[in-house]
């Protein structure tokens, strides 16, 4: 009974050395992008209200919406909406019980990240 071979266990991870997995990053990004989109939609609705109200009000809102700040918010929102879009589709796929093995889940994660950047670029090119 002597000399029992010790099982090699992974070290208990703590936050500073923990290698966060792609699936975890892409999961939390879904939540962050979805909730952050409130900023873009609020700015968009305010801009639409101004367009419906008066030329002076529109001048103010349009100046903000087309300023560097507006560009930042809307470009960020374009990426956020596409990321959330792809990650949402991935959720529907997961809900069907598919793609849950690690290699497929990681591929889907990269698909969300790369796909969202590509779709954002296409959107910006289409609307400018």
């Amino acid at each position: 009974m002597a000399d029992v071979k010790r099982v090699e266990r992974p070290l208990s991870p703590h936050l500073q050395i923990y290698r966060i997995q792609l699936t975890a990053v892409t999961s939390i990004l879904t939540r962050i992008t979805g909730n952050a989109l409130i900023v873009g939609i609020a700015l968009a609705v305010w801009w639409l209200l101004a367009a419906a109200t008066s030329p002076e009000y529109f001048a103010t809102a349009n100046a903000v919406a087309t300023s560097w700040f507006g560009d930042l918010v809307f470009t960020g929102s374009a990426w956020a909406v596409w990321y959330h879009y792809l990650a949402g589709l991935r959720h529907l796929y997961y809900d069907a019980g598919k793609g849950l093995d690690i290699p497929t889940a990681e591929k889907l994660g990269w698909a969300c990240i790369i796909g969202s950047v590509v779709l954002t670029a296409i959107t910006i090119l289409l609307v400018q």
């Binding site: 409130i38 305010w46 209200l49 529907l92």
Partner: protein, 123 residues
Amino acid sequence: MRYLTARKRAEGKGASHTGTEHHWHMTVSAVALAFLVPTWLYIFGSALGQSQEQVVAIFARPFPAILTALVLIVGMRHFAMGATMMIEDYAKGTARKMAIIFAYSLSAVIVATGLFALLKIAI
């Protein structure tokens, strides 16, 4: 006397007492938004940066107006329920209740404002 057994009444309801209602609503609105959002992004993105007359002319047309209304109604409901999920994970007690009420209120204000703007442009 109730003919349903306790087991039968509890089945599928889980800890939330509403079963899978929340999840199912998120699924339905996600599918709806998957159809609505790409076209809306194109319409809104094209309108952004134009003059006021052009913006009003775009959103006075039926398709952009109805699509925008749908995106707002479905999207803000999806937001309020999604934000609730996040709040429930990170806050508790009174802070949780207040944050959830705030999320729903903010969504309602944005929907009402957007619909008012669309109506004003339409008439």
